[in-house]
Symmetry: C2
Subunit: 338 residues, 2 copies
DNA sequence: TTGAAAGCGGTACCAG
DNA sequence: CTGGTACCGCTTTCAA
């Protein structure tokens, strides 16, 4: 691989001259500049980004870590993050945790980027605390991690979600409401379960643990399979609250396959408002959060931290990510006649 | 940020000793090693991956470039690539082209990784040719790019796909078959259109250009919208071949909304076999390719190239990526009684 | 306008 | 077993 030294030698110039010329520095005489650039092209010179990063102590890239790119929920998130970091002149790299967390951990533990956005709970909190640094800020989305140079938009360990959905079902006259947990690596499930229980209790509906099912995964298939079990108890259930749309869509299919009419025989509600949720039949009633605004906010904070601008952590933590839960009314929930 | 020099100074040791100790080199006395490692932990030493990469001239990471992470088709691909590169001890980074190709281009043009897998046609061929190098091999998936150190699994510019699907529809007695193009950045569309035309012709069915529609995007919504237009011509159409499942699913919804019965009024077939395709009603007949095997193959070739092992390009190009098209029969196509 | 030299933070050879 | 030293490829003063 040709380096600037080679070019310098060829042209009998100093390396600094070549370096500056290649960066189009006006200090270098125009003729020299062009000469350098031309020969660089001719010999196929390729700049080593790594050497530049080392020297500059800055990569201009941000890493975002997610569990699994296959859920459209994350794709939407990624696309917003991508657009936002670009506004600040940063590049975005993505690491998923599909098969191992090695890539992500290596990039974090060796500070190979300027900052990180974590949207998963599969990376240990101690690990994050160990490597977060004033020169390496970490933003955590969707859950709370205490630590210096770690910025979260959640003020507490486990906020209560799922309130809107549960309230909505109750308002529609349902009382025997099943809850279906998604993957255990999912951040929303425990919170929505929280809210579900809380709302039930405050409506004097006792919590029946046998009505809490576990899909164990966040895929259509997992939703399908768990729903086959639910069908056995179908007589005692008015409505099902699925922890996310992925499993709800699978569940809907299982119900249809069993000739159970949604919403006439049973109502179901999902969570997250995936694009496909409006396309299934009946279209899925679900709950949406404002991912756009919150995501913008997160990127802004990370960039601030990278630039060492002051951040008011207390004020920041007042911004609940995901906290607004808006019911998207469609056709899978029916008001229950009494 | 503390460096090994700081540690060396603190402990009155040489930098090489510290470096080796930190890497657990058995040449270093166990006591010294532990001493070094302990003090490193105490002062919060963090190794600079970038410095290591520069010195070793190797990053151990592979970059994969895709257009858009939100299509589950790509997620599946990513997950296989991820698993495969891990087997060879490499890490995987992902760059999408959602808002700009800057990240991908920077990583390629500055050789910031050991190799690249490109699954998009949004990066110029000349660009790839310029930066591919024996120390920086590039694998191109899904289309053909001529060039040294560029490895493709497609032997020709534009292979013919879509044959199975078109044949299948014809075998089911359909003759007036519409074709719906997906996003123009999609690699499959032109090929499937090729195959569609070819098969029609060989069955003595004249090609009616007015039966070729363009969804212009690969989203559910695009499929929905284009299908609203198709509905106006519905009387002259027996079946629709959508270039991918994404638009087919959207199209299905549009047909249902217009009270058109699939498959009794019209048959539709998609392409790619997305997870959601089995969940819509009626479930979508579609065509699947063996992404798993081909993806494994691609990773193997890239690693070989990185290791400078010989690659038989001619033999390689005999492996058609995506070339096996398997019809997944479900409920959206009906045999036409004559 | 150009160039020598001092790094950036490591690694690895070679001598002791 | 330990340490001096020469890089890896580039940027950036500072002098000439």
């Amino acid at each position: 691989m040709a380096t600037i030294k080679d070019i310098a030698k060829m042209l009998d110039l100093g390396v600094s001259t070549v370096s500056m010329a290649l960066n189009n520095n006006p200090k270098i005489n125009k003729n020299t500049r062009e000469l350098v650039i031309n020969t660089a092209n001719e010999i196929g010179y390729i700049k080593s980004g790594i050497a530049v990063d080392l020297q500059k102590q800055k990569t201009n890239v941000i890493l975002v870590v997610i569990t699994d790119a296959s859920r459209s929920y994350f794709s939407k998130f990624l696309s917003v993050v991508q657009r936002e970091v670009a506004k600040y002149g940063y590049d975005l790299l993505i690491a998923t945790l599909e098969n191992s967390s090695k890539t992500a951990e290596r990039y974090i533990s060796e500070h190979r980027v300027d900052g990180v956005i974590i949207y998963t709970n599969l990376i240990g909190e101690d690990f994050l605390r160990k490597y977060a640094h004033k020169d390496f800020p970490i933003c955590v989305v969707g859950h709370y991690v205490e630590g210096d140079n770690i910025y979260c938009t959640f003020p507490v360990k486990e906020p209560t979600l799922g309130i809107s959905a549960t309230n909505y079902l109750i308002a529609k006259g349902h009382r025997n409401i099943a809850f279906v947990k998604a993957s255990s690596s999912t951040l929303g499930t425990p919170r929505r379960l929280n809210g579900y229980k809380k709302v039930l209790l405050s409506n004097n509906i006792p919590i029946d643990e046998s009505l809490i099912y576990d899909a164990k995964d966040s895929t259509f298939e997992a939703g399908y399979n768990v729903t086959k079990k639910i069908i056995k108890d179908i007589d005692k259930i008015d409505a099902i609250y699925y922890s996310n749309d992925d499993i709800a869509i699978g569940g809907l299919k299982a119900l249809k396959d069993a000739n159970i009419d949604v919403p006439n025989d049973i109502s179901i509600i999902g969570n997250n408002n995936l694009p496909e949720s409006s396309l299934v039949t009946p279209s899925l009633t679900t709950v949406a959060s404002n991912i756009e605004i919150d995501t913008k906010n997160i990127v802004k904070i990370l960039i601030k931290a990278i630039n060492k601008e002051p951040i008011d952590k207390k004020a920041l933590e007042k911004t609940y990510y995901n906290a607004t839960e808006l019911i998207i009314e469609r056709d899978s929930v029916k008001s229950k006649k009494k």
